[in-house]
């Protein structure tokens, strides 16, 4: 008897090529990334506890060495896969309805759900800038390696920079508002008892991450945080 159809590679390829498989990858990488943004925000809110606390936190992360790089590799791979899936699925979507409607009404879909394909790439572009700004320093005019607190304050004193941070993080909040629930549905988790709760958790998650991240540039601009 032939065993061609159950070969391991074929099976993985079939799963990867299917629309559901792609959404599963989207969901799993989305889960990892949303966990990261929450942790990242909580860690960074230590800016409100003063320079010593925040710089100590930064030094602690740097001291992790191998573990830090392992986390970075997982995150970068997640970002890469998340974007690849988004591009492939968007191409599919454009093919699936070649002729648009003259008139189309959206009834229940949220603004967040309909604009995932816009919030995603903008947040992605922001991510590149953010890494060059606060991690490697090329995009930061007064970058002082190791002095995280000073970098945050001098960085956010530029209103244009702060504005970009706030806009990107509001879009991130929209992305999470839909995505954090959507990933459970994609993985097949839905139940009348838990789905409404999951939706509320996702909406709260988006709002909390958005508010937390917007609070930092806002605090610097308004002078609540200074050197």
């Amino acid at each position: 008897m032939s065993t061609i159809a159950v070969g391991g590679l074929n099976r993985t390829a079939a799963l990867y090529q299917s629309v559901i498989g792609k959404k599963v990858i989207m969901a799993v990488t989305g889960f990892i990334l949303s966990g990261f943004v929450l942790g990242h925000m909580i860690g960074n809110l230590q800016v409100f506890a003063g320079p010593e606390k925040l710089n100590a936190y930064g030094a602690f992360l740097q001291s992790l060495g191998g573990a830090l790089w392992a986390a970075r590799i997982v995150l970068l791979a997640s970002v890469g896969l998340h974007i690849t899936m988004a591009v492939q699925l968007t191409m599919l979507k454009l093919e699936a309805r070649p002729q648009p409607y003259v008139k189309k009404t959206a009834l229940v879909s949220t603004y967040a759900a309909r604009t995932m394909i816009w919030s995603g790439p903008i947040v992605g572009a922001f991510l590149v800038y953010h890494l060059l700004h606060f991690t490697t320093g090329q995009a930061h005019p007064d970058f002082k390696p190791g002095d995280v607190y000073a970098n945050v304050i001098t960085g956010f004193r530029n209103p244009a920079v702060s504005l970009f941070y706030m806009v990107a993080n509001i879009l991130l909040a929209f992305h999470l508002y839909h995505g954090v629930w959507s990933m459970f549905q994609s993985l097949g988790v839905a139940h009348p008892r838990y789905t409404p709760l999951l939706k509320r958790v996702a909406q709260t998650f988006g709002i909390v991450v958005g508010l937390g991240n917007v609070a930092m540039p806002m605090a610097v601009l308004t002078g609540i945080l200074s050197l």
Partner: protein
């Protein structure tokens, strides 16, 4: 009442198509939407013009034949209703309406408001069935079925295959339709034998037909004239994932020594 209709006119699959405006000076509010179009068509025939093609059969909201977009909504503004059961009292005097066919690559326009939905038939043929022995009818209730499963299977089976889910979806996805079939059969004991094969094959066919993918916007559930639930799509995803990992093709060796 007086209505202005902007109707998509397309001579055939290869015609570009365009919106044509028609004035309806005397619409009775007790007419169904299709009866209103019948009146328009009578008028067009008398004038020697080509009548507007639209699909219809039972006109009782149970066959799944009718359906087109009215003001950007499949089956029009009333929820839980097919266009044949939609009555003109849902509209007001002087209103301007936009009528378009369902749009998706997998639903090519045949003429005017009529699309070819045979992609749905091919998805069902790929796995939307159960195998039963022929011969005497089996005893009713011979197989115990949990009440709740029977109810959920029945709710999924309410799908009439009209295509409103595809039409309303921003991605032209057929996930609600396919998942309704998968859930309807997969919730019952009779559907277990082909459960894995069904998920793998129906999802493969869905992609073959060129439908989009699900982004969980929930438009389909809101627009479905039969109220088929989004929860079915999660069930399809579960069934598909499990099957994609564990399913053995019939021609595979059974394993063992």
């Amino acid at each position: 009442m007086k209505l202005t209709l902007n109707i998509w006119r397309q001579k055939g699959p290869n015609d570009a198509g365009r919106i044509v405006k028609y004035e309806m000076p005397n619409v009775d509010e007790h007419m169904s939407f299709l009866e209103m179009l019948d009146v328009l068509n009578e008028d067009l025939i008398h004038k020697g013009e080509e009548p507007v093609t639209f699909e219809h059969d039972c006109r009782e909201g149970i066959c799944g034949c009718c359906g087109f977009m009215i003001n950007g909504l499949p089956h029009g503004p009333q929820r839980g209703t097919t266009v044949c059961q939609l009555h003109m009292r849902q509209f007001h005097d002087g209103e301007e309406l936009w009528l378009e066919p369902f749009r998706a690559k997998a639903f090519p326009v045949l003429k005017d408001l009529m699309v070819d939905r045979s992609a749905f038939d091919r998805i069902i043929a790929a796995g939307g069935y159960v195998s039963v022995n022929t011969g005497c009818a089996v005893d009713g209730n011979a197989i115990p079925i949990e009440k709740q499963s029977a109810e959920m299977a029945m709710d999924a089976a309410a799908c009439i295959g009209c295509g409103a889910c595809v039409a309303s979806c921003p991605n032209a996805s057929a996930s609600l339709f396919t998942s309704a079939k998968i859930a309807h059969l997969g919730l019952l004991p009779q559907g277990q034998a082909e459960r894995d094969r069904r998920a793998v094959r129906m999802v493969a066919q869905l992609m073959e037909e060129g439908f989009g993918y699900c982004t969980n916007t929930g438009e389909c559930e809101a627009l479905c004239p039969k109220g088929v639930k989004l929860e079915n799509i999660a069930r399809m995803n579960r069934d598909y994932l499990k099957a994609a990992i564990l399913y053995r093709e019939e021609n595979a060796s059974a394993g063992g020594a």
